[in-house]
Symmetry: C2
Subunit: 435 residues, 2 copies
Amino acid sequence: MTNNKDLTIGMLGFGTVGSGVATMIRDNEKELTQRLGVKVNIGKIVVRDLDKERGTHVDSSLLCTNVHDVINDPSIDVIVEVMGGIEEARDAIEKALRARKPVITANKDLMALHGHSLLHLAHENGCDLYYEASVAGGIPIIRTLEDGLASDRISGIMGIVNGTTNYILTKMKEENWSYEEALSKAQALGFAESDPTSDVEGLDAARKMAILATLAFSMEVHLEDVAVTGMTSITTEDLQLAEQFGYSVKMLGFAERDAEGVDVSVEPVFLTSSHPLAAVRNEYNAVYIYGDAVGETMFYGPGAGSMPTATSVVSDILAACRNLLLGVGGMRSHDPMNTRLIKGEEEQHAQFFHRLLVKDEIGVFSELTSIYSRHHASLGSIIQRPGEKPEEAEVILITHSISRKNHKAIIDELTASNSVKEIISQYRVEGGTKS
Amino acid sequence: MTNNKDLTIGMLGFGTVGSGVATMIRDNEKELTQRLGVKVNIGKIVVRDLDKERGTHVDSSLLCTNVHDVINDPSIDVIVEVMGGIEEARDAIEKALRARKPVITANKDLMALHGHSLLHLAHENGCDLYYEASVAGGIPIIRTLEDGLASDRISGIMGIVNGTTNYILTKMKEENWSYEEALSKAQALGFAESDPTSDVEGLDAARKMAILATLAFSMEVHLEDVAVTGMTSITTEDLQLAEQFGYSVKMLGFAERDAEGVDVSVEPVFLTSSHPLAAVRNEYNAVYIYGDAVGETMFYGPGAGSMPTATSVVSDILAACRNLLLGVGGMRSHDPMNTRLIKGEEEQHAQFFHRLLVKDEIGVFSELTSIYSRHHASLGSIIQRPGEKPEEAEVILITHSISRKNHKAIIDELTASNSVKEIISQYRVEGGTKS
């Protein structure tokens, strides 16, 4: 152990996360040095604009604008990539790994797209690529899957992995705000981007689920394998209805595996209210894991924010520095052990909740039920109640588990049917029916 | 990396956890070999009775009765201690560490009493002592504190770390069972021992909190530092009353730190119902952590059971084997960094709930409030309602945060007062008042 030399970090980017990392390294200098045996310094920080005013105090002599000056600087031992984006970040990380410098990244977009090749490259060069902060901010979920549950066979993950959508749903339920009100409040508080598309359409969550599924199943899971449904059509009425039936509406990511393959999705869900994920409020994230041996575990915490995310980055820095000092970098899992086996729609199964507005005529009910049974959907509950107009009725039903292919066929037939005036809402159902 | 030799485990003990470990190693042989690069075998198993019938299939030629034969066997690389007890286990672990064999233990009693010296010994001998399974069974909480949140300064831990008591409280609340009914059901299901003292008096939880506090604060916290109150006097009436006030009754462990020192306790608590720990049901455990940077995180899962606990043991085996192969054992935290600073009763602060039966006479209310104010307790809420008898009244009150010393003085004065007929119940209050 060559423990008499300080270690020096080069930071690529100095935004919210980057400044949090600098603050933590400064404020916890004594503890970090005790844990590691050597001191960790920040040697260089790449920024876009040298003259920008910065809230965090930083020695301006550390700032520079050229990524390659930092990577190629022989005094820099470890690279922290917190600049975001894809191509420039990828190029920088590849160059750093080829120079045998461990890399810590918080870049989920990049890891979701190019994680496999980057992890492979890291291993080839005997150095670490750590990415704890890329999923669920302050929750140490990556190392839990890699280390804490390493001995178990993970069969499923359910996660609230986007804080913005969970905040919106919490406020819609608890404050009776509309979707639009909740979204604009989230934007005012800085949880949601001015363009919220990536959050509310589920793309951000899909990236995180691709990363988690890849790791949990040791299988290449691509972003395009994730079936994504957004949350923009959720109404406060849906939330109230869910509550009446014993459910909470949550935007959930799923990663499930059985002998037939892997199924990954992000979608709005009616989740049984007694499920621990249903109690996750506001901008918090949580990841629920099913392991064959361990059973059910859940990991809860802040999904974003400067200091929570910095906690993950600095823990990764500690781990990478320790491995660097010990000369044992690049040993973490890299090449997936299992052959890619992604389920098609006929193999993906779930339960669904439908709320339909139908004509209140003789024969409609039996027409409806025949549509479901034609596509092998048996019904767990079915309720008919008067519609707002006398000639209309509302039908609410929950299917038993059916394939997504059959579900689509049912939705197509319902849409085409003259008896069905509107499919008011449809949700995946999870956690069993409460009755 | 000397990765062409299989690694061989010697198991001390073959009860619930031990047989789970053997099952996992057998069933996940392929995955474990892939993760480690070499195969892990069980070479010897120490049992008390060679002839006992065993549910788990095991090659009887592996069984032996002498601990030292296993530790001294040069073909044994790693020791797994799952026999329990204190002195024999301590002696065995010390001998193994001196022989530079990494040790994995699930023994919370031993780690709570002798963890400090054993971890120090492990470090001195350059090999690992891992003990994930000693706290909260399947939840990887030890490595979360050591690795995932390593960069953060932990200021507090709240934990449901005893499954038996949480099961009893859940059933008392949800099924309206009495304490005795819930306990005997827990015993029938195997959650509770035939002698439940250690669980219901909080001693089991105290051991786990001592281990967690030691690690989280990097300070020697001894079992006798933990202030323990049992749960045997909790009634279903208390649970209903708690619910009326927006609380759930939980048996919680606390470990708190500020500049003045550390305060560790186990006690029944009125916990705000919206707190994530309030949603932890049945025999599940959960540990809630406050970090200065990360904020609030929670780790939830099964606290006991053969396979969940085995998951933690086998993950520890993997980590220890990897370090052994890399020649980097004994690097985990061992000697506490911080000086012991345990708070006395005058520095320990909490809020309290009191339910008193008092005489319904003029002057009693003002006598009561003067007792509280004399000991610097201001009151957050106070409710007086008729007692069952006309000459009695019930007073329910919640204090603001006061020292335990003042709290004891108040209880003493209430007990001595002629106006107070009974202190019906008293609970610590946590999570703020709901109003």
